[in-house]
Symmetry: C2
Subunit: 402 residues, 2 copies
């Protein structure tokens, strides 16, 4: 709740986006929380805030627990924050018991997990796994600024990204507590979820170029209206999202659209549309990406528009580590819950860390399944129970040979 007071001025809901002043303030608060908890805090070149607690055996690789503290525009107070705050609390308790763990414990607040104005997400977790590339850094927002510039301005050191890399196998395990953001736990009357698989996400940035003309003097049949083309792609995205194929399904969303010049009396010259596809099924994702490209080609030729589809990210579904899943189910049972195994429709920093370490995730319920909106809510006792399950999981995973 203290974190949630740090929001961007004049923005709806609980907005704290990655390059905002509010985000800078929130991270100063997280840093203080980590220090008060007894952790040694560093900010890596990628902007990840890391609090470290020594383990009983300094030779062992660290056990890492993380999440993020940024939000989407008009977002909520729980997505990401629950995982950061609970992880710091777990570390605080363990620090108070002086070396209760064998492994060093790292608590990580990853930089900018939500998609930003450059069209990509998970900046921090991409960076530590070596997947924040020079191409990403060259991505530009509407104002023409590059992601690299934005990182530098906000105190990161993008030129030193190579040094921040976590090598393959260098972690004992990665755990993340998060809100479900769906309604499966609530409907099942369960308090703790253990994630089986994180959905893959393919994100496309679609640039539709037509021609600006006077809206009063240009006959309908002489127009090359970019917004008309975008509207066809928006409706087509919904059709694509409803496709079921061989029992496999997913979702498709046209979430972001910018129109130029966006004047009532000018035929739109250009539209920039962001579309994402999500599924735990690789084949579904691949086939729907093809569907979207086919549709874009059809819209371009039928309307004399220039339409380009750029895939800004294409992440495969990520299964959680089967041994960790078993351990986390037992941990959840030990704190008195009956865990539910469920997939994650949302992606998480964990999906990136899976490239270099075994990962697992715990979910707590989201009221009405609402998320990425001001109404996002989990009851305080649900958050507390999640933190208890996370503490138990850290203890159990620390003791396990993986």
């Amino acid at each position: 709740m203290e974190l949630s007071t740090l929001v961007e001025d004049g923005q709806p809901g609980w907005t704290r986006r990655v390059f905002s002043d509010a985000y800078k303030q929130s991270r100063a608060l997280v840093k203080t929380m980590m220090q008060v908890a007894g952790l040694a805090v560093t900010l890596d070149p990628a902007g990840n805030l890391i609090g470290k607690l020594g383990g009983g055996d300094p030779e062992l690789p660290p056990l890492v627990v993380g999440s993020h503290s940024d939000t989407v525009s008009a977002g909520g107070r729980f997505d990401g924050m629950v995982g950061v705050v609970a992880a710091v609390e777990v570390a605080r308790i363990l620090a108070g018991h002086g070396g209760a763990l064998r492994h060093p414990l790292w608590i990580v607040d990853f930089l900018g997990e939500e998609p930003n104005q450059f069209g990509i997400s998970c900046l921090g977790s991409r960076a530590v796994t070596g997947h924040l590339t020079a191409e990403h850094l060259a991505l530009r927002d509407e104002t023409g600024a590059s992601l690299g510039d934005a990182l530098r301005t906000s105190g990161c050191r993008p030129d030193e990204l190579a040094s921040t890399r976590w090598p393959d196998g260098s972690l004992h395990a990665y755990l993340e507590l998060h809100i479900e953001q769906g309604a499966r736990l609530e409907r099942a009357g369960r308090q703790i979820g253990v994630v089986t698989c994180i959905a893959g996400i393919s994100r496309a940035s679609i640039d539709i170029e037509g021609r600006a003309d006077h809206a009063g003097t240009t006959p309908m049949d002489l127009r090359r209206d970019a917004l008309q083309g975008a509207a066809e792609l928006v409706l087509g995205t919904e059709v694509i999202g409803r496709v079921q194929e061989a029992d496999e399904d997913g979702v498709a969303t046209a979430g972001r659209l910018l129109v130029e010049p966006n004047s009532t009396n000018v035929v739109p010259a250009r539209a920039l549309l962001n579309v994402e596809l999500r599924s735990v099924f690789e084949t579904w994702l691949r086939n729907r990406s093809t569907d979207l490209e086919t549709l874009a080609g059809r819209v371009a030729s039928s309307r004399s528009l220039a339409v380009t589809v750029q895939w800004v990210s294409q992440g495969d579904p990520v299964p959680c580590d089967p041994r960790l899943r078993r351990i986390l189910s037992q941990s959840a049972a030990r704190v008195g819950t009956v865990p539910l195994e469920l997939p994650s429709g949302a992606s998480h920093d964990a999906a990136h860390i899976a490239r270099i370490a075994p990962i697992a995730m715990l979910f707590i319920p989201s009221r009405d399944g609402r998320s990425h909106c001001p109404e996002e809510w989990s009851d305080p006792w649900e958050v507390t129970l999640g933190a208890k399950a996370l503490l138990q999981a850290v203890l159990d995973v620390d003791g396990a040979a993986l």
Copy 2:
């Protein structure tokens, strides 16, 4: 060309919108031009810049010649400016000949003719005809500021609008020179157009409210996606614009769309769409407005969205004064051109002044019919010929009993 150097920083094309600093600078330049031409310059409470030249008979009502110097976003250098600059030049020549006219001559640069962030156009010409209402002044932009506030901030006195009113019948005539913004003159190989009728415009602001949800965890069939509803309305607008009914036609444009929260991974909660219908046929306009409302209702019920259609302006087609049309055709012939009679698909300040005075308009060609875009162009000799025809028209209308 000097006016066109005053554009908004960081905006595309030749952008000089009504409440921008660039607009303030441009009006200081127009004021200087008027003063150099020998006119007595005043700024009325509605922000209209008026340059006055005394006539031979001070008892006679003024002959008014006007246009505007603001642009749409990413607009051009001729729409509006040609009419202002040519009118000032006409006045300069007449002032140099000391009292060549019987009537006082007023040259007017009307405030903000183009649609602005408050969704209305023709601020200045509405005001002098008593049609800038308290309701208009209360309209708000995205930031929550009202039009009244914006006017006050930019040096106007909206509380004194009543005193700026031009009574019915208080003008001898109103003339306006403008670029055609279409391609009829060019196709016909003519240099001067005499306008028969100005298209009526109905502008709707459509507010579509759905529900923000997480784009990864909300199944397709549980969504209330505002952008999907907006896309149906965008495509429906095009269908409506193509309707021909009893030989009557028009155009329909969805030119402006704002999406909230406009994030790649959030199901859109809200969309604000601006649609306009234009036609020189009243029945067509009325029937298509009904079509749009019917469509909005269908989209609302089929998608569980709240859709409200607000008509922010509904202007009937405005015929030009038949006597003035005849005089202007003769004036155009006197300067050596063969004028073309044609309707105006675009609206103009003249359409508002028609409420209180006889009006007429002269057009010059627009290359390729392009307008409201950076490519907007009329050759210097075409502008010069337009100014000559305007001077002749002013002399001829001054001498006529209307």
